[in-house]
Symmetry: C2
Subunit: 194 residues, 2 copies
């Protein structure tokens, strides 16, 4: 059985690899299983590894003045970590924990650095990964500033139906920058209007 199947499926969609190259990159990866509600990263720690989700789900969030604000969800096929902390080896500003029992594929900072310097295809993969994340975040931020709440929620549901199924509603409210009560009322209004 191939534990790295999903990782390389996504990698190869971005950058084709020969068998040898795949084996080379695979030798830098490690597997980690984490059970539900465990921290992958806590604010203040250095983010020593970047994680690809092979199975399960996680959330990345910050805590400001006592309130949690979810920045990102990560389910199968997504990549998650505190990028600034990972690259600079400074303390993380985000928390990351699991929402379900999960299996992660980890790339450590030293492995990352070494692969960048010896395997150009890894650099290309990483560039495309970050580029995609940046474009998506810009769209999201733009929507947050300009679209009414209803539209932001329906957009989210349409784009991430799988997350809606698996994640409690109050966390989706947090992701959208709303209170749970407001999201509940928004859903009610949408149900009526339909």
């Amino acid at each position: 059985m191939d534990l790295y199947r999903l990782y390389f499926q996504q990698f190869k969609e971005k950058v084709p690899l020969t068998i040898e190259e795949q084996e080379q990159i695979q030798s830098y990866l490690t597997l980690k299983k984490i059970s539900k509600k465990q921290y992958f990263l806590q604010e203040g720690e250095v983010c020593k590894s970047y994680a690809f989700v092979e199975k399960g789900s996680l959330r990345k969030y910050s805590i400001e003045t006592g309130n949690e604000h979810i920045i990102q969800f990560a389910i199968e096929g997504w990549t998650v970590g505190d990028l600034l902390s990972f690259l600079s080896e400074e303390p993380a500003t985000y928390h990351i924990d699991t929402l379900e029992d999960s299996e992660l594929i980890l790339m450590s900072k030293s492995a990352h650095d070494e692969l960048l310097s010896i395997q150009p295809k890894y650099e290309t993969y990483f560039r495309l990964l970050i580029t995609g994340a940046y474009i998506a975040l810009q769209r999201r931020h733009s929507f947050t500033l300009s679209l009414p709440v209803e539209q932001r929620y329906t957009d989210f549901v349409e784009k991430y139906p799988e997350i809606v199924k698996r994640v409690p509603q109050h966390m989706i409210a947090s992701y959208l920058g709303l209170t749970p009560e407001t999201l509940s009322r928004v859903r009610k209004r949408l149900a009526k209007g339909k």
Copy 2:
């Protein structure tokens, strides 16, 4: 006189270059002067070039339901463009125009693609450019969701004093997701509290 001084200064902070490499890359760049209040890019067009600001200032914004929402300012040393449109050659979703007479250094899509394939240092530069932009945007988005307006404004002033000097206040309000009236009142409150 070296018109590309600032561009290569920033490039070399990320990736050192030999004279020959610099000349190679320079041969792919073109200069463009645009006077104040002119479009660099309009929504619906394809973003054919990415721009580095050697002189002047620009804004990138979207229009949703009649309202302008400024996504980004770009002054000397910043890079601006519609990344999704540039990379995919699909119609742009943002407008970009100048706030002052400006001088831009342009990298066309074909030049970009060619440099990516022949000059690894350009790929590294571009990767680091996008990575930095992504980290900054994530911070900004996180602040938008979690910090009170006062703090968002003081944070902006502290981080971009030059932009505050050169850009009308109502545009800063737009960038922060506020109406001009609200920003005016926020500033008044801050002045009192001091």
